[in-house]
Protein backbone atom coordinates (compact mmCIF):
# COMPACT_ATOMS: atom_id res chain seq x y z
CA UNK A 1 0.00 0.00 0.00
CA UNK A 2 1.17 3.45 -0.85
CA UNK A 3 1.59 6.05 1.85
CA UNK A 4 -1.78 7.05 3.29
CA UNK A 5 -3.19 10.26 1.87
CA UNK A 6 -5.36 12.51 3.98
CA UNK A 7 -7.27 15.74 4.14
CA UNK A 8 -6.85 18.03 7.10
CA UNK A 9 -9.64 20.58 7.52
CA UNK A 10 -8.60 23.37 9.86
CA UNK A 11 -11.92 24.97 10.78
CA UNK A 12 -10.17 27.94 12.43
CA UNK A 13 -9.17 29.11 8.93
CA UNK A 14 -12.53 28.57 7.25
CA UNK A 15 -14.25 31.77 6.07
CA UNK A 16 -17.42 30.04 4.86
CA UNK A 17 -16.95 30.99 1.19
CA UNK A 18 -18.14 27.56 0.05
CA UNK A 19 -15.64 27.47 -2.81
CA UNK A 20 -14.92 23.86 -1.76
CA UNK A 21 -18.59 22.97 -2.07
CA UNK A 22 -18.77 24.49 -5.55
CA UNK A 23 -15.47 22.97 -6.71
CA UNK A 24 -16.67 19.56 -5.56
CA UNK A 25 -19.92 19.96 -7.48
CA UNK A 26 -18.08 21.06 -10.62
CA UNK A 27 -15.37 18.41 -10.68
CA UNK A 28 -17.72 15.57 -9.81
CA UNK A 29 -20.42 16.88 -12.16
CA UNK A 30 -23.03 16.86 -9.42
CA UNK A 31 -26.33 18.48 -10.38
CA UNK A 32 -27.84 21.42 -8.50
CA UNK A 33 -30.44 20.96 -5.82
CA UNK A 34 -33.22 23.15 -4.50
CA UNK A 35 -31.78 25.32 -1.72
CA UNK A 36 -33.42 24.76 1.64
CA UNK A 37 -33.93 26.96 4.66
CA UNK A 38 -31.82 25.58 7.49
CA UNK A 39 -32.06 28.50 9.91
CA UNK A 40 -28.56 29.74 9.02
CA UNK A 41 -26.45 30.34 5.92
CA UNK A 42 -25.85 26.62 5.69
CA UNK A 43 -27.12 24.89 2.60
CA UNK A 44 -27.98 22.01 2.60
CA UNK A 45 -28.88 20.76 6.05
CA UNK A 46 -26.83 17.65 5.44
CA UNK A 47 -24.87 15.70 2.85
CA UNK A 48 -26.95 14.44 -0.03
CA UNK A 49 -26.28 12.15 -2.96
CA UNK A 50 -25.40 15.34 -4.85
CA UNK A 51 -23.49 17.20 -2.14
CA UNK A 52 -20.25 15.56 -0.98
CA UNK A 53 -18.65 18.68 0.56
CA UNK A 54 -20.76 20.79 2.86
CA UNK A 55 -19.82 23.94 4.76
CA UNK A 56 -21.54 23.89 8.13
CA UNK A 57 -22.49 27.27 9.62
CA UNK A 58 -22.92 26.88 13.36
CA UNK A 59 -24.09 29.80 15.47
CA UNK A 60 -23.08 29.26 19.06
CA UNK A 61 -24.48 31.58 21.76
CA UNK A 62 -21.77 33.19 23.89
CA UNK A 63 -21.89 34.19 27.56
CA UNK A 64 -22.12 37.88 26.56
CA UNK A 65 -25.24 37.23 24.47
CA UNK A 66 -23.46 37.43 21.12
CA UNK A 67 -23.14 34.59 18.66
CA UNK A 68 -19.91 32.86 17.84
CA UNK A 69 -19.80 31.73 14.25
CA UNK A 70 -18.22 28.32 13.86
CA UNK A 71 -17.57 27.27 10.29
CA UNK A 72 -16.63 23.80 9.21
CA UNK A 73 -16.25 22.29 5.79
CA UNK A 74 -17.47 18.74 6.33
CA UNK A 75 -16.76 15.72 4.15
CA UNK A 76 -16.63 11.90 4.16
CA UNK A 77 -14.08 10.90 6.80
CA UNK A 78 -12.62 7.94 4.87
CA UNK A 79 -12.38 6.07 8.19
CA UNK A 80 -9.48 3.68 8.73
CA UNK A 81 -12.13 1.22 9.98
CA UNK A 82 -15.08 2.05 7.79
CA UNK A 83 -18.59 0.87 8.71
CA UNK A 84 -19.84 1.33 5.14
CA UNK A 85 -17.03 -0.77 3.73
CA UNK A 86 -17.62 -3.62 6.20
CA UNK A 87 -21.37 -3.50 5.57
CA UNK A 88 -21.20 -3.63 1.76
CA UNK A 89 -22.31 -7.12 0.65
CA UNK A 90 -21.24 -6.72 -2.98
CA UNK A 91 -17.68 -5.52 -2.47
CA UNK A 92 -18.56 -2.29 -4.28
CA UNK A 93 -17.08 -0.28 -1.42
CA UNK A 94 -13.33 -0.73 -1.37
CA UNK A 95 -10.20 0.84 0.06
CA UNK A 96 -7.76 2.35 -2.39
CA UNK A 97 -4.01 1.98 -2.15
CA UNK A 98 -3.96 5.47 -0.61
CA UNK A 99 -6.21 4.45 2.28
CA UNK A 100 -9.32 6.24 1.00
CA UNK A 101 -12.73 4.56 0.75
CA UNK A 102 -14.61 4.48 -2.55
CA UNK A 103 -17.85 3.11 -3.96
CA UNK A 104 -17.49 1.31 -7.28
CA UNK A 105 -20.68 2.49 -8.96
CA UNK A 106 -20.80 -0.43 -11.39
CA UNK A 107 -20.83 -2.98 -8.57
CA UNK A 108 -23.12 -1.23 -6.07
CA UNK A 109 -26.56 -2.85 -6.21
CA UNK A 110 -28.46 -0.32 -4.12
CA UNK A 111 -29.14 -2.38 -0.99
CA UNK A 112 -28.59 0.72 1.23
CA UNK A 113 -26.92 -1.18 4.07
CA UNK A 114 -23.92 1.19 3.88
CA UNK A 115 -26.26 4.17 4.26
CA UNK A 116 -27.36 3.00 7.71
CA UNK A 117 -23.85 1.84 8.64
CA UNK A 118 -22.06 5.18 8.35
CA UNK A 119 -21.48 6.63 11.86
CA UNK A 120 -21.51 10.13 10.30
CA UNK A 121 -24.51 9.81 7.99
CA UNK A 122 -22.34 10.53 4.94
CA UNK A 123 -23.24 7.79 2.47
CA UNK A 124 -26.38 8.73 0.52
CA UNK A 125 -28.67 6.82 -1.78
CA UNK A 126 -29.11 8.24 -5.25
CA UNK A 127 -32.66 7.55 -6.41
CA UNK A 128 -31.81 8.29 -10.04
CA UNK A 129 -29.08 5.67 -10.35
CA UNK A 130 -30.36 3.39 -7.58
CA UNK A 131 -26.87 3.36 -6.08
CA UNK A 132 -25.03 4.78 -3.07
CA UNK A 133 -22.87 7.88 -3.40
CA UNK A 134 -20.32 9.75 -1.38
CA UNK A 135 -17.08 11.74 -1.59
CA UNK A 136 -14.38 9.86 -3.51
CA UNK A 137 -11.51 12.07 -2.33
CA UNK A 138 -11.53 12.95 -6.04
CA UNK A 139 -10.18 9.51 -6.81
CA UNK A 140 -9.50 10.40 -10.44
CA UNK A 141 -7.58 13.53 -9.45
CA UNK A 142 -5.44 11.98 -6.71
CA UNK A 143 -4.42 9.18 -9.04
CA UNK A 144 -3.12 11.85 -11.39
CA UNK A 145 -1.28 13.91 -8.82
CA UNK A 146 -3.80 16.75 -8.67
CA UNK A 147 -5.25 16.52 -5.15
CA UNK A 148 -8.97 16.79 -4.38
CA UNK A 149 -10.83 19.71 -5.98
CA UNK A 150 -11.98 21.09 -2.61
CA UNK A 151 -8.47 21.27 -1.16
CA UNK A 152 -7.09 22.73 -4.39
CA UNK A 153 -9.63 25.52 -4.45
CA UNK A 154 -9.68 26.48 -0.75
CA UNK A 155 -8.42 30.10 -0.66
CA UNK A 156 -7.39 30.05 3.02
CA UNK A 157 -5.80 26.60 3.11
CA UNK A 158 -8.42 25.55 5.61
CA UNK A 159 -8.53 22.29 3.62
CA UNK A 160 -5.13 20.76 3.16
CA UNK A 161 -4.27 17.59 1.29
CA UNK A 162 -1.18 15.46 1.61
CA UNK A 163 0.46 12.52 3.33
CA UNK A 164 -1.36 11.68 6.52
CA UNK A 165 1.65 11.56 8.85
CA UNK A 166 2.89 14.96 7.66
CA UNK A 167 -0.55 16.54 7.99
CA UNK A 168 -1.04 15.15 11.51
CA UNK A 169 2.27 16.66 12.62
CA UNK A 170 1.24 19.98 11.09
CA UNK A 171 -2.18 19.81 12.76
CA UNK A 172 -0.69 19.14 16.18
CA UNK A 173 1.52 22.22 15.86
CA UNK A 174 -1.49 24.28 14.82
CA UNK A 175 -3.54 23.17 17.84
CA UNK A 176 -0.69 24.09 20.18
CA UNK A 177 -0.48 27.52 18.53
CA UNK A 178 -4.24 28.12 18.83
CA UNK A 179 -4.23 27.11 22.49
CA UNK A 180 -1.41 29.59 23.04
CA UNK A 181 -3.57 32.24 21.39
CA UNK A 182 -6.37 31.54 23.87
CA UNK A 183 -8.57 29.06 22.00
CA UNK A 184 -8.74 26.71 24.96
CA UNK A 185 -11.18 24.27 23.30
CA UNK A 186 -9.17 23.87 20.11
CA UNK A 187 -8.80 20.14 19.41
CA UNK A 188 -8.17 17.62 16.70
CA UNK A 189 -10.92 15.25 15.61
CA UNK A 190 -9.91 11.89 14.15
CA UNK A 191 -6.20 12.70 13.76
CA UNK A 192 -4.94 10.08 16.20
CA UNK A 193 -4.89 6.63 14.64
CA UNK A 194 -5.68 5.22 18.09
CA UNK A 195 -8.89 7.22 18.16
CA UNK A 196 -12.24 5.53 17.37
CA UNK A 197 -12.52 3.91 13.92
CA UNK A 198 -8.73 3.72 13.76
CA UNK A 199 -8.49 7.41 12.92
CA UNK A 200 -10.08 9.37 10.10
CA UNK A 201 -8.30 10.01 6.81
CA UNK A 202 -10.23 13.27 6.59
CA UNK A 203 -9.59 14.73 10.02
CA UNK A 204 -10.43 18.10 11.51
CA UNK A 205 -9.24 20.85 13.80
CA UNK A 206 -12.27 22.03 15.78
CA UNK A 207 -12.60 25.14 17.95
CA UNK A 208 -15.16 23.53 20.22
CA UNK A 209 -16.21 20.07 21.36
CA UNK A 210 -17.30 17.72 18.55
CA UNK A 211 -20.96 17.78 19.63
CA UNK A 212 -21.12 21.51 18.78
CA UNK A 213 -20.38 20.54 15.17
CA UNK A 214 -22.92 17.68 15.29
CA UNK A 215 -20.08 15.17 15.26
CA UNK A 216 -20.30 12.07 17.48
CA UNK A 217 -17.91 12.22 20.46
CA UNK A 218 -16.98 8.56 20.03
CA UNK A 219 -18.08 7.21 16.65
CA UNK A 220 -18.33 3.41 16.81
CA UNK A 221 -17.94 0.71 14.21
CA UNK A 222 -21.42 -0.82 13.68
CA UNK A 223 -20.00 -4.30 13.13
CA UNK A 224 -18.91 -4.47 16.79
CA UNK A 225 -22.37 -5.90 17.53
CA UNK A 226 -22.32 -8.82 15.10
CA UNK A 227 -20.56 -11.38 17.29
CA UNK A 228 -22.42 -10.75 20.57
CA UNK A 229 -25.82 -10.62 18.89
CA UNK A 230 -25.11 -13.77 16.89
CA UNK A 231 -24.11 -15.67 20.03
CA UNK A 232 -27.31 -14.53 21.74
CA UNK A 233 -29.35 -15.66 18.73
CA UNK A 234 -27.68 -19.09 18.82
CA UNK A 235 -28.57 -19.33 22.51
CA UNK A 236 -32.19 -18.52 21.66
CA UNK A 237 -32.13 -21.15 18.89
CA UNK A 238 -31.01 -23.83 21.35
CA UNK A 239 -33.76 -22.95 23.84
CA UNK A 240 -36.47 -22.85 21.17
CA UNK A 241 -35.14 -26.14 19.84
CA UNK A 242 -35.38 -27.83 23.24
CA UNK A 243 -38.97 -26.59 23.64
CA UNK A 244 -39.97 -28.03 20.28
CA UNK A 245 -38.23 -31.36 20.85
CA UNK A 246 -40.05 -31.76 24.17
CA UNK A 247 -43.36 -30.91 22.47
CA UNK A 248 -42.92 -33.38 19.63
CA UNK A 249 -41.19 -36.26 21.38
CA UNK A 250 -43.34 -39.37 21.38
CA UNK A 251 -44.00 -40.77 24.83
CA UNK A 252 -42.30 -44.14 25.18
CA UNK A 253 -39.48 -43.24 22.82
CA UNK A 254 -39.10 -42.20 19.22
CA UNK A 255 -41.48 -43.72 16.73
CA UNK A 256 -43.44 -45.69 19.33
CA UNK A 257 -46.60 -45.37 17.30
CA UNK A 258 -45.01 -46.25 13.98
CA UNK A 259 -45.64 -49.96 14.26
Amino acid sequence: MARTLAMFTDTSLCIGCRACQVACKQWNELPMEEPEWTGSYQNHAHFTDKTYRLVRFIEKPQANGELQWLLMSDVCKHCAQAGCLDACPTGAIYRTEYGTVNINQDVCNGCRYCVSSCPFGVVSFNHDTGRANKCTFCNDRIHNGLGPACAKTCPTESIQFGFRDELVAKAEKRVAKLKEMGYASAQLYGADSNSPLGGLNAFFLLLDKPATYNLPEKPLLPQRNVLVDSVLAVGAALLVGVGAVVSFRERGGKGADDA
Binding site: D86, A87, C88, P89, A92, N109, S116, A236, V240, F248
Partner: protein
Amino acid sequence: MLRNPEWHLLIVWYFFLGGIAGGAYFTAAIADNFGGSRDRGVVRTGYILSLLMIAVCGMLLILDLGTPSRFLNMVMHFKFWDPMSIGAWVLGVFGLFAFLSSALSLSADEGRAALRRKISLVGTIFGFFLASYTGVLLSATALPFWSDARLMGALFLASGASTGMAAISLLLYLSGDSAGEGFKKVKRADRFAILFEIAVLVLFLVVLGSAAAPLLSGHLAPLFWGGLVVLGLVIPLLLDLLGGLRIPAAVPAALVLLGGFILRYVIVMTHA
Protein backbone atom coordinates in the same frame (compact mmCIF):
# COMPACT_ATOMS: atom_id res chain seq x y z
CA MET B 1 -27.16 13.47 11.59
CA LEU B 2 -27.43 9.81 10.79
CA ARG B 3 -29.21 8.51 7.76
CA ASN B 4 -31.88 5.84 7.50
CA PRO B 5 -31.59 3.21 4.76
CA GLU B 6 -35.10 3.71 3.37
CA TRP B 7 -36.09 0.13 4.06
CA HIS B 8 -39.85 -0.05 3.96
CA LEU B 9 -42.66 -2.58 3.51
CA LEU B 10 -40.81 -4.94 1.16
CA ILE B 11 -38.16 -5.41 3.83
CA VAL B 12 -40.77 -5.78 6.60
CA TRP B 13 -42.45 -8.52 4.58
CA TYR B 14 -39.10 -10.16 3.89
CA PHE B 15 -38.15 -10.19 7.57
CA PHE B 16 -41.60 -11.59 8.46
CA LEU B 17 -41.76 -14.29 5.79
CA GLY B 18 -38.10 -15.23 6.33
CA GLY B 19 -38.98 -15.84 9.97
CA ILE B 20 -41.90 -18.06 8.97
CA ALA B 21 -39.71 -19.97 6.51
CA GLY B 22 -37.08 -20.66 9.15
CA GLY B 23 -39.60 -21.44 11.88
CA ALA B 24 -41.76 -23.71 9.73
CA TYR B 25 -38.77 -25.68 8.48
CA PHE B 26 -37.39 -26.06 11.98
CA THR B 27 -40.77 -27.23 13.30
CA ALA B 28 -41.09 -29.75 10.48
CA ALA B 29 -37.55 -30.99 11.07
CA ILE B 30 -38.16 -31.50 14.79
CA ALA B 31 -41.47 -33.25 14.09
CA ASP B 32 -39.69 -35.37 11.46
CA ASN B 33 -36.84 -36.41 13.74
CA PHE B 34 -38.51 -36.63 17.13
CA GLY B 35 -42.18 -37.15 16.33
CA GLY B 36 -43.97 -40.12 14.90
CA SER B 37 -46.03 -41.06 11.86
CA ARG B 38 -48.99 -39.03 13.12
CA ASP B 39 -46.92 -35.89 12.63
CA ARG B 40 -46.55 -36.49 8.90
CA GLY B 41 -48.96 -33.66 8.10
CA VAL B 42 -46.88 -31.23 10.14
CA VAL B 43 -43.68 -32.38 8.45
CA ARG B 44 -44.97 -32.06 4.91
CA THR B 45 -46.75 -28.75 5.55
CA GLY B 46 -43.69 -27.25 7.26
CA TYR B 47 -41.21 -28.17 4.53
CA ILE B 48 -43.40 -27.05 1.64
CA LEU B 49 -44.44 -23.86 3.41
CA SER B 50 -40.80 -22.93 4.02
CA LEU B 51 -39.94 -23.57 0.38
CA LEU B 52 -42.74 -21.28 -0.81
CA MET B 53 -41.81 -18.58 1.70
CA ILE B 54 -38.16 -18.66 0.61
CA ALA B 55 -39.22 -18.17 -2.99
CA VAL B 56 -41.28 -15.14 -2.02
CA CYS B 57 -38.41 -13.83 0.15
CA GLY B 58 -36.01 -13.95 -2.77
CA MET B 59 -38.43 -12.00 -4.93
CA LEU B 60 -38.99 -9.37 -2.22
CA LEU B 61 -35.24 -8.76 -1.88
CA ILE B 62 -34.77 -8.54 -5.63
CA LEU B 63 -37.69 -6.11 -5.96
CA ASP B 64 -36.27 -3.90 -3.23
CA LEU B 65 -33.08 -3.36 -5.24
CA GLY B 66 -34.95 -1.48 -7.95
CA THR B 67 -32.87 -3.07 -10.71
CA PRO B 68 -33.48 -6.83 -10.32
CA SER B 69 -30.40 -8.04 -12.19
CA ARG B 70 -28.18 -6.30 -9.65
CA PHE B 71 -29.04 -9.05 -7.19
CA LEU B 72 -26.28 -10.99 -8.95
CA ASN B 73 -23.74 -8.54 -7.53
CA MET B 74 -24.64 -9.86 -4.10
CA VAL B 75 -23.75 -13.46 -4.97
CA MET B 76 -20.47 -12.64 -6.68
CA HIS B 77 -18.99 -11.69 -3.33
CA PHE B 78 -18.85 -13.25 0.13
CA LYS B 79 -18.01 -11.59 3.44
CA PHE B 80 -18.19 -13.87 6.45
CA TRP B 81 -18.52 -11.00 8.94
CA ASP B 82 -21.25 -9.16 7.08
CA PRO B 83 -24.84 -10.16 7.99
CA MET B 84 -26.23 -9.06 4.64
CA SER B 85 -23.66 -10.92 2.60
CA ILE B 86 -24.08 -14.18 4.53
CA GLY B 87 -27.84 -13.63 4.56
CA ALA B 88 -28.06 -13.50 0.77
CA TRP B 89 -26.03 -16.69 0.48
CA VAL B 90 -27.94 -18.49 3.21
CA LEU B 91 -31.25 -17.65 1.53
CA GLY B 92 -30.05 -19.59 -1.50
CA VAL B 93 -28.54 -22.50 0.42
CA PHE B 94 -31.59 -22.79 2.68
CA GLY B 95 -33.80 -22.76 -0.41
CA LEU B 96 -31.91 -25.81 -1.66
CA PHE B 97 -32.46 -27.63 1.65
CA ALA B 98 -36.15 -26.71 1.69
CA PHE B 99 -36.50 -27.99 -1.86
CA LEU B 100 -34.83 -31.32 -1.07
CA SER B 101 -36.85 -31.75 2.14
CA SER B 102 -40.11 -30.88 0.39
CA ALA B 103 -39.43 -33.26 -2.48
CA LEU B 104 -38.46 -36.11 -0.13
CA SER B 105 -41.49 -35.48 2.09
CA LEU B 106 -43.80 -36.33 -0.80
CA SER B 107 -42.64 -39.93 -0.78
CA ALA B 108 -43.61 -42.53 1.81
CA ASP B 109 -40.44 -44.54 1.21
CA GLU B 110 -38.61 -45.24 4.51
CA GLY B 111 -35.14 -45.00 2.99
CA ARG B 112 -35.91 -41.55 1.65
CA ALA B 113 -37.41 -40.55 4.99
CA ALA B 114 -34.14 -41.41 6.75
CA LEU B 115 -32.21 -39.26 4.28
CA ARG B 116 -34.77 -36.48 4.66
CA ARG B 117 -34.40 -36.51 8.46
CA LYS B 118 -30.62 -36.15 8.21
CA ILE B 119 -30.89 -33.36 5.64
CA SER B 120 -33.42 -31.52 7.78
CA LEU B 121 -31.10 -31.34 10.78
CA VAL B 122 -28.53 -29.46 8.72
CA GLY B 123 -31.21 -27.40 7.00
CA THR B 124 -32.54 -26.31 10.38
CA ILE B 125 -29.28 -24.48 11.06
CA PHE B 126 -29.78 -22.42 7.91
CA GLY B 127 -33.44 -21.93 8.77
CA PHE B 128 -32.55 -20.56 12.18
CA PHE B 129 -30.02 -18.32 10.51
CA LEU B 130 -32.59 -16.92 8.08
CA ALA B 131 -35.04 -16.25 10.89
CA SER B 132 -32.53 -14.42 13.10
CA TYR B 133 -29.80 -12.78 10.98
CA THR B 134 -32.16 -9.97 10.01
CA GLY B 135 -32.18 -8.82 13.63
CA VAL B 136 -28.38 -8.97 13.84
CA LEU B 137 -28.24 -7.06 10.55
CA LEU B 138 -30.25 -4.18 12.00
CA SER B 139 -28.19 -4.06 15.18
CA ALA B 140 -24.99 -3.85 13.13
CA THR B 141 -25.81 -0.37 11.87
CA ALA B 142 -24.90 3.08 13.15
CA LEU B 143 -28.49 4.00 13.99
CA PRO B 144 -29.72 4.43 17.58
CA PHE B 145 -32.26 1.90 18.91
CA TRP B 146 -31.24 -0.67 16.28
CA SER B 147 -27.62 -0.63 17.36
CA ASP B 148 -28.55 -0.33 21.05
CA ALA B 149 -30.57 -3.55 20.94
CA ARG B 150 -28.62 -6.63 21.97
CA LEU B 151 -31.30 -9.29 21.52
CA MET B 152 -32.80 -8.39 18.16
CA GLY B 153 -31.56 -11.60 16.52
CA ALA B 154 -32.83 -13.68 19.45
CA LEU B 155 -36.18 -11.90 19.37
CA PHE B 156 -36.60 -12.40 15.62
CA LEU B 157 -35.68 -16.05 16.07
CA ALA B 158 -38.27 -16.59 18.79
CA SER B 159 -40.87 -14.80 16.71
CA GLY B 160 -39.85 -16.76 13.61
CA ALA B 161 -40.34 -20.04 15.49
CA SER B 162 -43.74 -19.08 16.84
CA THR B 163 -45.01 -17.60 13.55
CA GLY B 164 -43.71 -20.66 11.67
CA MET B 165 -45.65 -22.91 14.02
CA ALA B 166 -48.72 -20.67 13.84
CA ALA B 167 -48.60 -20.77 10.04
CA ILE B 168 -48.39 -24.58 10.06
CA SER B 169 -51.30 -24.90 12.50
CA LEU B 170 -53.35 -22.43 10.48
CA LEU B 171 -52.74 -24.43 7.30
CA LEU B 172 -53.58 -27.71 9.07
CA TYR B 173 -56.76 -26.13 10.41
CA LEU B 174 -57.77 -24.81 6.99
CA SER B 175 -57.13 -28.19 5.37
CA GLY B 176 -59.36 -29.85 7.98
CA ASP B 177 -56.48 -31.65 9.70
CA SER B 178 -56.90 -30.01 13.10
CA ALA B 179 -58.16 -33.05 15.00
CA GLY B 180 -54.90 -35.00 14.81
CA GLU B 181 -52.06 -35.52 17.24
CA GLY B 182 -49.66 -33.48 15.06
CA PHE B 183 -51.85 -30.41 15.30
CA LYS B 184 -51.90 -30.65 19.11
CA LYS B 185 -48.13 -30.93 19.21
CA VAL B 186 -47.66 -27.87 17.03
CA LYS B 187 -49.96 -25.96 19.35
CA ARG B 188 -47.98 -27.18 22.35
CA ALA B 189 -44.67 -26.18 20.77
CA ASP B 190 -46.12 -22.81 19.77
CA ARG B 191 -47.26 -22.20 23.34
CA PHE B 192 -43.67 -22.65 24.47
CA ALA B 193 -42.37 -20.45 21.64
CA ILE B 194 -44.79 -17.64 22.55
CA LEU B 195 -43.80 -17.81 26.22
CA PHE B 196 -40.16 -17.74 25.18
CA GLU B 197 -40.77 -14.81 22.85
CA ILE B 198 -42.43 -12.85 25.66
CA ALA B 199 -39.43 -13.52 27.90
CA VAL B 200 -36.98 -12.43 25.18
CA LEU B 201 -39.07 -9.33 24.45
CA VAL B 202 -38.98 -8.31 28.12
CA LEU B 203 -35.20 -8.81 28.24
CA PHE B 204 -34.86 -6.97 24.93
CA LEU B 205 -36.67 -3.93 26.37
CA VAL B 206 -34.73 -4.07 29.64
CA VAL B 207 -31.39 -4.13 27.80
CA LEU B 208 -32.52 -1.22 25.58
CA GLY B 209 -33.55 0.89 28.57
CA SER B 210 -34.24 4.45 27.49
CA ALA B 211 -33.27 3.57 23.90
CA ALA B 212 -36.56 1.64 23.66
CA ALA B 213 -38.46 4.95 23.50
CA PRO B 214 -39.39 4.63 19.78
CA LEU B 215 -41.33 1.46 20.64
CA LEU B 216 -42.71 2.41 24.03
CA SER B 217 -43.72 6.01 23.54
CA GLY B 218 -43.29 7.08 19.91
CA HIS B 219 -45.89 7.08 17.16
CA LEU B 220 -45.36 3.33 16.77
CA ALA B 221 -46.16 2.69 20.43
CA PRO B 222 -49.92 2.02 19.96
CA LEU B 223 -49.09 -0.57 17.31
CA PHE B 224 -46.41 -2.11 19.51
CA TRP B 225 -48.58 -2.38 22.61
CA GLY B 226 -51.94 -3.08 20.97
CA GLY B 227 -50.82 -5.05 17.92
CA LEU B 228 -47.83 -7.02 19.14
CA VAL B 229 -48.10 -7.30 22.92
CA VAL B 230 -51.87 -7.61 23.36
CA LEU B 231 -53.18 -9.05 20.08
CA GLY B 232 -50.07 -10.90 18.97
CA LEU B 233 -48.80 -12.41 22.22
CA VAL B 234 -51.06 -12.13 25.27
CA ILE B 235 -54.44 -12.95 23.69
CA PRO B 236 -53.26 -16.01 21.71
CA LEU B 237 -51.50 -17.28 24.82
CA LEU B 238 -54.60 -16.76 26.98
CA LEU B 239 -56.86 -18.42 24.39
CA ASP B 240 -54.48 -21.35 24.36
CA LEU B 241 -54.11 -21.65 28.14
CA LEU B 242 -57.79 -21.16 28.97
CA GLY B 243 -59.01 -23.42 26.21
CA GLY B 244 -62.61 -24.60 25.89
CA LEU B 245 -63.81 -21.18 24.75
CA ARG B 246 -65.14 -22.61 21.48
CA ILE B 247 -62.97 -20.21 19.57
CA PRO B 248 -61.65 -21.79 16.36
CA ALA B 249 -57.95 -22.64 16.58
CA ALA B 250 -57.41 -20.49 13.52
CA VAL B 251 -57.94 -17.33 15.58
CA PRO B 252 -54.92 -17.55 17.91
CA ALA B 253 -52.76 -18.74 15.00
CA ALA B 254 -53.79 -15.75 12.87
CA LEU B 255 -53.15 -13.40 15.80
CA VAL B 256 -49.63 -14.79 16.29
CA LEU B 257 -48.95 -14.19 12.60
CA LEU B 258 -50.29 -10.65 12.86
CA GLY B 259 -48.05 -10.05 15.90
CA GLY B 260 -45.01 -11.37 14.04
CA PHE B 261 -45.63 -8.95 11.18
CA ILE B 262 -46.16 -6.02 13.55
CA LEU B 263 -42.92 -6.84 15.42
CA ARG B 264 -40.90 -6.50 12.18
CA TYR B 265 -42.96 -3.49 11.13
CA VAL B 266 -42.44 -1.40 14.28
CA ILE B 267 -38.73 -2.21 14.44
CA VAL B 268 -37.95 -1.55 10.77
CA MET B 269 -40.18 1.53 10.57
CA THR B 270 -38.40 3.15 13.53
CA HIS B 271 -35.86 4.34 10.96
CA ALA B 272 -38.02 4.65 7.85
